[in-house]
């Protein structure tokens, strides 16, 4: 068997492979650091979001989706953190069970919902505390490669350019 043009092909293959692997080599085989949402002083002071933190981390999108459905479709504009959360049949059984396991295993010390009533609004209620969209929302969303289209319509709070 004759290997034609080996002088060109072999170095080419090696260079190609190096280029392909360069991002992995550059990062030393480690994953990039996951960003942690940054809390504003106001959010820190409040201590408690509309639901416990692990819940919000995992399911804020479902919560927002439910809010949108309830506000727009059913005209229900207030959210009671005790009554309206997961134990009130808002989610299907599977999600409920997942959530139960989640809260009992990973972070049982998280304080429960406060029972306070909130106005269901991303733009008014959420962004009042989390007024730092670029640090609180975008960093994580960019890291995970998700691009929610909330801000096509909803007005984001003005942030001080640092």
């Amino acid at each position: 068997m004759t290997f034609y043009d080996r002088g060109t092909i072999l170095p080419g293959l090696i260079i190609g492979l190096c280029l392909f692997l360069s991002p992995f080599i550059y990062n030393g085989g480690k994953a990039g650091k996951a960003p942690v949402p940054e809390l504003t002083p106001k959010a820190k002071e409040a201590k408690q979001c509309v639901a416990p933190k692990p819940y919000m981390t995992a399911w804020h999108m479902q919560l927002l989706d439910n809010w949108r459905q309830e506000v727009v479709r059913e005209g229900s504009r207030y959210f009671n953190a005790n009554q309206d959360l997961w134990w009130n049949n808002q989610f299907d059984g599977q999600l409920l069970e997942k959530w139960r396991r989640f809260i009992t295993s990973s972070d049982a010390s998280t304080p429960g919902a406060t029972g306070k009533t909130y106005y269901k609004s991303l733009q008014v209620t959420c962004m009042e505390c989390h007024s730092n969209k670029s640090k609180f929302c975008d960093e994580c969303h960019n890291y995970l490669g998700v691009s929610p289209y909330c801000w096509d319509c909803h007005v984001q709070p003005k942030e001080d350019k640092q």
Binding site: R68, G75, Y119, S121, C153
Partner: protein
């Protein structure tokens, strides 16, 4: 087997009778409600509100003649982040707007009509019809009539097909041909003007929502509130199901007209002339 003419006719007759007796016959002779008119069959609870508006055009025109009043429109557009596209009619966003009497009431117009109304700028907004054609044609159910009578829009779901615009006989719906945030800056300083209300995105239809976001927290529509605040009281908002409400009393005591009632959409915006 041979079938003679007589036997064949018997069988055919019996089959036809059997066929007609089935579901087909019911459908042919006693058709159920057509899908197109199904919109009106909404059960009304005893304490169900039915929001409606009365526009006292006498007071409104008086105020307009005094000083070009446009407070209701300005307030609505400010609160709902409705952009101004200037003279470009194609891109005009209509939530509440002015239109001549002839255009609003084409069937009521005649050449000898009173000077009190002739070519006078009337106020128009979405009629929040009881039998809204826009809702019947919407393929994504992104517009529908709520039980309290408000014809709502779910802008998250609108795909911008503009069927509703074609269906609405009142021209109450507008399409976002471009991003409303890119409206001319000189006409829209500090847009969005209300940081507590969303704007729209390119490619959705929008219209007056009877201030659903204010009704939800126990307030009246902002146009009505503004009209009251400047002490004109030309716009009156209330519950049609409540016999003691101001609008019911007004409708009882004064003669009112509505737009294009012959179309059967049952508008809920009443005009006192």
């Amino acid at each position: 087997m041979t079938v003679d003419r007589r036997k064949f006719l018997k069988i055919a007759g019996l089959s036809a009778a059997f066929g007609l007796g089935g579901k087909t016959a019911v459908d042919i002779f006693a058709p159920g409600e057509l899908f197109a008119s199904a919109g009106s069959a909404v059960p009304v609870a005893t304490n169900q509100k039915k929001w409606a508006m009365v526009i006292d055009m006498k007071k409104c025109l008086e105020e307009q003649e005094k000083g070009k009043c446009n407070q209701c429109m300005a307030a609505c557009h400010r609160v709902h982040n409705v952009p101004n596209f200037g003279d470009n009619i194609k891109e005009e966003m209509k939530w509440i707007w002015q239109e001549s009497y002839e255009h609003l009431f084409p069937s009521q117009h005649n050449e000898f009509i009173s000077e009190d109304v002739k070519e006078k700028p009337f106020i128009a907004l979405c009629n929040h019809c009881e039998n809204p054609p826009c809702c019947r044609v919407c393929p994504t159910k992104s517009t529908w009539r709520r039980e309290d009578g408000v014809v709502m829009m779910d802008l998250h779901r609108c795909i911008g097909c503009r069927f509703c615009m074609a269906a609405c006989p009142f021209g109450s719906r507008s399409f976002n041909w471009g991003d409303p945030r890119k409206a001319p800056k000189e006409l829209n300083p500090d847009f969005p003007t209300n940081m507590n209300y969303p704007t729209r995105t390119k490619g959705v239809v929008e219209k007056c929502n009877f201030c659903d976001e204010r009704l939800g927290v126990g307030k009246i529509p902002v146009c009505v509130e503004t009209c009251q605040n400047i002490n004109v009281h030309a716009l009156i908002f209330g519950d049609l199901n409540d016999p003691a409400s101001e609008i019911r009393k007004l409708l009882h005591s004064r003669y009112s007209i509505r737009r294009k009632t012959e179309l059967g959409t049952e508008p809920k915006v009443y005009y006192l002339i």
